[in-house]
């Protein structure tokens, strides 16, 4: 049994870059990914800016080496998972006991919603090929099969914390000696289903979002995928791991189906639980990658929970969703990669468009990109519908 679990690599595709290197370049250049919709056909095209991956399905299919007709969610997943594997220094995947644990929120909905208009007029209508990968698990399997992973394949769907919860389960699979390596994270493509769903909640901003700013009025949706490669102690000894996945916790707010409790109970319990597992004190956390969606409710709850836990010593903090948008099931995976890389490279990411201090909070997010920090411990938060709150900690050793 491997006591410790390490991060051997990571891959990201998002609205600010087709790979991790391109994403970093966008942070450095302060270039967020929000724009008018180019690839998602929707009547809201000119109303809500989104952070789309800047490539059509044909281009993504080429990159993924998969057929163009399959769900964009699977294409994004494949591209980021392969990048993650390549960055790990591990060679032929068939040599290891490997698991693939991926989070997503609506599976192959991008295809299902194209199928439905015809199906609704005639229950024998519509091409079945468009719904064959509707299930969340099916998207995961398309990628697992392509990568040649068979030892353990699983999918998690807990709304916006799906990707983070995939890392937790992956870590447990290694610690329980079920596999030695897990590619863990999440993926989600933009769909009309989610866009309209968030619109009914009236939490989409018509401007680029402003997380942790007093004038914030909502979130921007994004899309993408992000995966880390988790490895056991014995494999880590043969590699140069980025950092250690030292702590995590999931807690439930048990307050409301979609809203966070005003005192951020679930958020607090998740962060506290993760720190307890890591054995670190609040002042040892060097940077927090915030959930930071930019909604009124989330940012104040998250902020109050952070205040309760960290005051008076606040670490550097930022919401990278101010660049990538909220990528839902992918966000926990994407932000885990950013956070693990932050430990390795000493990076603190900027929070775009922050201008006005939130009156409820005594701290402000970081607004500039910088490197060279000695970050011993970095925290990543992901909070979702159903009160689902997750916090991850990545550590130097």
């Amino acid at each position: 049994m491997s006591e410790k679990v390490w991060i051997a690599g990571g891959g990201v595709i998002s609205g600010i870059g087709l790979d991790l290197k391109a994403c970093l370049q966008s942070f450095r250049n302060m270039q967020p990914g929000m724009a008018a919709m180019q690839y998602l056909p929707s009547v809201h095209r000119n109303t809500f800016p989104v952070a789309e991956v800047k490539a059509d399905n044909a281009t993504l299919a080429d990159m993924a080496r998969m057929p163009e007709h399959i769900s964009r969610t699977a294409l994004l997943s494949m591209i980021a998972a392969r990048e993650a594997w390549k960055s790990s220094g591990l060679d032929d995947i068939s040599r290891y006991r490997v698991g693939f644990v991926s989070g997503n929120t609506v599976g192959g909905m991008d295809k299902t919603e194209n199928f439905f208009p015809e199906f609704l007029t005639n229950s024998r209508g519509g091409r079945l090929q468009q719904v064959v990968h509707h299930e969340c698990g099916s998207v995961t399997e398309l990628v697992a099969d392509m990568l040649g992973i068979r030892h353990h394949v699983s999918t998690i769907s807990t709304a916006c914390s799906s990707g983070a919860n995939a890392l937790m389960y992956g870590s447990r699979l290694i610690r329980n000696n079920i596999v030695d390596v897990v590619i863990a994270g999440g993926t989600d493509a933009l769909t009309r289903f989610t866009l309209n769903g968030f619109n009914t909640l009236m939490i989409l901003d018509q401007q680029p979002c402003r997380p942790f700013d007093d004038t914030r009025t909502g979130l921007n949706l994004g899309e993408g995928a992000g995966y880390v490669v988790l490895v056991s102690d014995s494999l880590a000894a043969q590699l140069q791991p980025w950092c250690r996945f030292s702590g995590f916790a999931n807690a439930n707010d048990a307050y409301h189906q979609t809203a966070s409790s005003p005192d951020g109970t679930g958020n607090y319990l998740a962060m506290k639980g993760a720190m307890d597992m890591s054995g670190v004190q609040p002042q040892q956390i060097g940077y927090i990658n915030l959930h930071g969606t930019g909604t009124q409710n989330n940012d104040v709850s998250e902020g109050i929970a952070i205040n309760r836990l960290f005051a008076p010593h606040f670490p550097a903090m930022s919401s990278t969703k101010s660049f990538t948008g909220h990528t839902l099931g992918a966000s926990g995976g994407i932000e885990a990669v950013f956070s693990a890389l932050a430990v390795k490279e000493g990076i603190i990411y900027p929070n775009a468009r922050f201008e006005h201090q939130m009156k409820e909070l005594p701290f402000a997010p970081v607004t500039a990109y910088s490197t060279g920090h000695d970050l011993q411990h970095v925290m990543s938060n992901s909070f979702g519908f159903g009160g689902n709150c997750s916090s991850l900690i990545f550590s130097k050793a």
Binding site: T200, L201, M202, H256, Q257
Partner: protein, 84 residues
């Protein structure tokens, strides 16, 4: 106002409640009233749009407008006459 009450019951799928059970001035959102929540508020915004063609862009206006059936009715009357 009884039309409005029936629309509210239908939109929110309120069970074991009839229009006669809802007082004109009964609070809709407090625990001792109907006990509705923020999701219901969003549903009521769509109700106003569907049935009365009234758009509420800012959900924060909700608590004032949706205080009671009477306040909703007054808001509807005011906004429909304003338009006419």
């Amino acid at each position: 106002m009884s039309d409005l009450k029936a629309q509210i019951i239908e939109q929110l799928n309120l069970q074991e409640i009839t229009p006669e059970n809802i007082g004109n001035d009964q609070t809709l959102f407090s625990k001792d009233g109907l006990g509705l929540d923020s999701i219901d508020a969003l549903e009521l915004i769509v109700l106003l749009q569907q049935h009365y063609n009234i758009r509420i862009a800012n959900p924060e206006e909700g608590p004032k407008i949706f205080h009671s059936v009477r306040s909703m009715a007054e808001y509807i009357t005011a906004n429909q006459t304003a338009k006419a």
